[in-house]
């Protein structure tokens, strides 16, 4: 279960893919600043599309690569610090979601390879779900972590990261997959071509589907509830309980919601599967 996240490190090409994904991700985050929303704080970056599309193509290598790439970006951009740990974890899952969800969304899945050539409308729907779920999970993990550290309220960062990731990935992902997928497949670099059969998750189709829907629900609900709590909805004020209860970090309610959600995500990831290997011609 989830063993491919460890066993992939035995394959030289998967290791090189981790390094290349990390380097490309970091390299594209910096020069292509994209549409600046708040100068110095946030911009809609074209590079944010990388964890999603590479996640679908390269699976676990893209998850590790996205985490490392974000870390490298922190080191070179000068924002390396305690928050980098949550940035690593958030981007790791951002890259992992596409691998876990593509093909496993039941009636919402297109049932074909992500090449945007056949069933393009259904592929677009499936792709948008993958993007929203991945972005929500990434945003929730980072926003939760930075609230625990007492740097920014969940609602501020959660909303910004969610929107940034969704906008860049939805706009850029489909044309990029249309253009790159056939070439990468021809090169034999898709994760089903690189991972040994026994390393791929052995989850049954129904279990993989249940886990994929579970990941989707937990991610979106976590983001929505986290933002709602942070905004003080349902009389759970964010700042009011800080000094008294935790000393320095976020509110106790927010910490509890995050801890439970993250454990649920971990559990669902453990029992989840993948589908692309069965969709290949």
């Amino acid at each position: 279960m989830m063993k491919e996240l460890v066993t992939m490190w035995r394959d030289t090409r998967m290791i090189m893919l981790v390094a290349v994904v990390a380097a490309v991700y970091a390299a594209l985050l910096i020069p292509f600043a994209g549409l600046v929303i708040i100068p110095g704080i946030t911009a809609v970056r074209p590079g944010n599309v990388i964890p999603v599309i590479f996640g679908i193509l390269f699976g676990p290598a893209a998850a590790w690569g996205s985490g490392i790439g974000n870390l490298i970006n922190d080191v070179f951009a000068g924002t390396f610090g305690p928050g980098s740990l949550f940035g690593f974890i958030g981007n790791f899952f951002f890259g992992l979601i596409g691998y876990k969800l593509w093909g496993n969304l039941g009636a919402l899945s297109s049932g074909v390879e992500p090449n945007f050539r056949e069933n393009a409308g259904r592929q677009l729907l499936e792709y948008i779900i993958v993007v929203v779920v991945g972005s929500a999970l990434c945003a929730s993990i980072i926003a939760w972590g930075l609230e625990v550290l007492g740097l920014f309220p969940f609602s501020v960062l959660g909303t910004i990261i969610l929107l940034n990731n969704v906008i860049a990935s939805v706009v850029l992902g489909p044309p990029l997959l249309y253009l790159t997928y056939p070439r990468i497949k021809d090169m034999g670099l898709l994760y089903p071509d690189l991972l040994r059969d026994e390393d791929l998750p052995d989850a049954s189709a129904s279990r993989a589907q249940t886990a994929a829907f579970g990941l989707a629900v937990v991610s979106v609900v976590w983001a929505a509830v986290g933002i709602a709590v942070s905004l003080g909805i349902q009389d759970v004020p964010f700042g009011a309980s800080q000094g008294e209860q935790f000393g320095a970090g976020g509110s106790t309610v927010q910490i509890a919601i995050g801890a439970i959600s993250f454990l649920a995500v971990l559990g669902l990831t453990v029992i989840s599967g993948e589908r692309l290997s069965k969709l290949l011609d």
Binding site: A23, A26, G34, G243
Partner: protein, 261 residues
């Protein structure tokens, strides 16, 4: 974009000579100190000490490069936090949008100082620690070799891809391609001709580099030796102990009720 994206400053200072692990221990001590206190006066002490150290080790140019980000994060934090803090004390400002109390102001100032201290602390680490030292430090902390190798390779490839991204941008601009447009979607779509060549160039390297590694007997499971092995000397132990003392001392003071708003 500068030709070297690295923030490492090659100097021979006390901090530069330390092992990456002891620097990390010191950094953890500073981060915990900054984290446990909320009173801006108490947070200011480690912030000022870290900033002064950054200047001493030659990090002014790095700070100047990032000062805009630090200032922006500080100001945004300062503007956002009062809305999320419990009010208390005398009202300092009254506007049609709301009031600002003394507690809200101090809370926001403390949080903004914390943001700045985290960034300056991280900057101090990357200013005094080279990429190779970071990777060697990770390895000696027990991270698996394959993971460290991937991080090291990514750090090495990163400037290459950064240069390649800039070259592609210039090449497409020379062909008349304009980045931007009337709305955010058009702006983003205009990046597609820039992203494809960078992607494909990078991915094409995977096969050849993997073959080159395997031809040299690359194996992630065997024990590795390093040419440039940094010893963990008495000074490193002393610095690590100081980092630990910072952690214990600051938590103790916080539990005694010091440094809160």
């Amino acid at each position: 974009m500068s030709s070297s994206p690295s923030l490492y400053v090659d100097r021979d200072t006390f901090l530069h000579r330390l092992n990456a692990r002891s620097k990390l221990a010191l950094l953890v001590g500073v981060f915990v100190t900054v984290y446990v206190f909320g009173d801006p006066l108490w947070v200011f002490v480690p912030l000022a000490a870290t900033f002064a150290t950054l200047l001493l080790v030659g990090g002014w140019a790095n700070f100047k490069r990032l000062s805009f980000i630090v200032a922006a994060l500080f100001l945004v934090g300062f503007a956002v936090w009062p809305a999320f803090a419990e009010s208390g004390g005398p009202v300092l400002l009254e506007t049609p949008l709301g009031t600002l109390t003394e507690r809200e102001l101090l809370f926001a100032l403390g949080r903004s100082e914390r943001i700045a201290a985290f960034i300056v602390g991280g900057l101090l680490f990357v200013t005094t620690t080279s990429n190779e030292e970071i990777v060697a430090g990770m390895r000696s902390l027990g991270f698996p070799y394959a993971f460290c190798f991937a991080v090291g390779t990514a750090l090495r490839l990163f400037p290459t891809f950064l240069g390649s991204a800039n070259t592609v941008r210039q090449a497409q601009a020379a062909r008349g391609h304009e980045v931007g447009g009337g709305n955010p979607v058009e702006t983003l779509r205009s990046y597609i001709p820039l992203l494809i060549p960078v992607f494909m160039t990078a991915i094409r390297n995977v096969q050849t580099q993997a073959m080159a590694l395997e031809a040299r007997g690359f194996d992630t499971r065997g024990d590795r030796t390093f040419y440039d092995r940094q010893p963990f000397g008495p000074t490193d132990w002393a610095v690590a102990a100081f980092g630990l003392a910072l952690v214990v001392g600051s938590i103790y003071l916080r539990l005694q009720g010091y440094g809160t708003v």
